[in-house]
Symmetry: C2
Subunit: 216 residues, 2 copies
């Protein structure tokens, strides 16, 4: 499962979410959000229209317009729906294993075909509504990942008081940077490498409060 | 100076660049690219038009159209022009000092008003021509920064054979991730913190070939 957003084929019945929809409403939402993901994957933001989404979902355009407003509203709901899952970060038994597995999930999501996750990130630069929803999703995912750091502290791999968020960002940012911003060719070794670098930094005290005397 | 793109007020006479323009052509280019930066900073990609750029620059729209084609061509030339400078990475005497100063430059550029650098990055998701130019600029900047790692190796701070690019990306990616992707509130301590984490990882051998036995 992607740490970013579920691909269309994984969307079954909509789980309880922000809107707490009932049966038919939930089915309509699932159909429409599937159609948004499919249209976005095929045509990108510029090809995404309420008409195409409605046609693909088999619902009336006015239904889509009334419930989601515009393309920004559709994208925001796709992003919000991605949080309505039971995704958990990997649990491999070691900090480095967990972070490497997480980075592999991220790399897989960012290089998937169709490129739904990257299209959603790109769309977040276009629509303020999608931007806010993308920020909520990042926050949800990083918050869920903090358990990885908590487990490492309990195993004695990291000191108590380790700054989980900064460690998680140090571990994962290079993968996003490489693929989303630099748009460089796939570097198969990067997920493991970035995880290992973050663990070495953490072991040296990089995420555990002020610099120890003599280190910085 | 920004590691990403010169703000408009810094653009004097166009230095020798890809197009090797002569006097009047160079002046026109400087006026037009200044106008692109100003329009982009004020209105973003969606407000950027050939008409507004031409009017602001005081040149004919047909001149702009003939030379740059469209908005994507204008943005690509702004990005290419950013490489036509003598920017060098900071030289503070220590690896951590250099990386921290670099991260402060990046943070300053990414939080500047008007937000030209972030607008250019956002535009690179819209225009394939701007995308390729943004990739060239990233490559130019990271290549110039490799001297920071070379100096650290010569000072004995890092082992020979250190992977300069991976170290630079580990040091800088968290700042970009925080501000460009997560769009989180400014974290004034992040530039120093990310630099220090990268240096600690590098000191532990994270960027010097295969993992030492027993570490990973």
């Amino acid at each position: 499962m992607s740490p970013q957003a579920s691909p269309p084929e994984e969307t079954g019945p909509t789980p309880p979410g922000r809107t707490r929809p009932g049966g038919r409403t939930a089915r309509t939402r699932a159909l429409v959000l599937d159609a948004v993901r499919a249209e976005l994957g095929e045509h990108g933001y510029d090809g995404l229209t309420l008409e195409a989404v409605a046609a693909r979902a088999g619902v009336h355009r006015t239904t889509v317009h009334r419930r989601w407003g515009d393309v920004g509203g559709l994208l925001a709901d796709v992003l919000d729906a991605a949080s309505d899952d039971d995704w958990e970060p990997p649990n491999t038994g070691t900090l480095q294993g967990d972070l490497a597995a997480l980075n592999h999930e991220i790399q897989t999501a960012l290089t998937a075909t169709p490129p739904i996750v990257t299209a959603l990130i790109a769309a977040s630069f276009r629509s303020e509504q999608a931007n806010r929803a993308q920020q909520r999703l990042w926050e949800d995912r990083y918050a869920r990942c903090e358990v990885v750091v908590g487990r490492a502290v309990r195993r004695g791999e990291l000191p108590p008081g380790t700054d989980a968020r900064r460690l998680l960002i140090a571990a994962t940012a290079p993968v996003y940077h490489h693929l989303v911003l630099l748009r460089a060719p796939l570097d198969p070794g990067l997920p493991d490498h970035a995880a290992r670098a973050a663990v070495l930094a953490a072991s040296a005290g990089a995420f555990a409060g002020p610099p120890p005397a003599g280190r910085a």
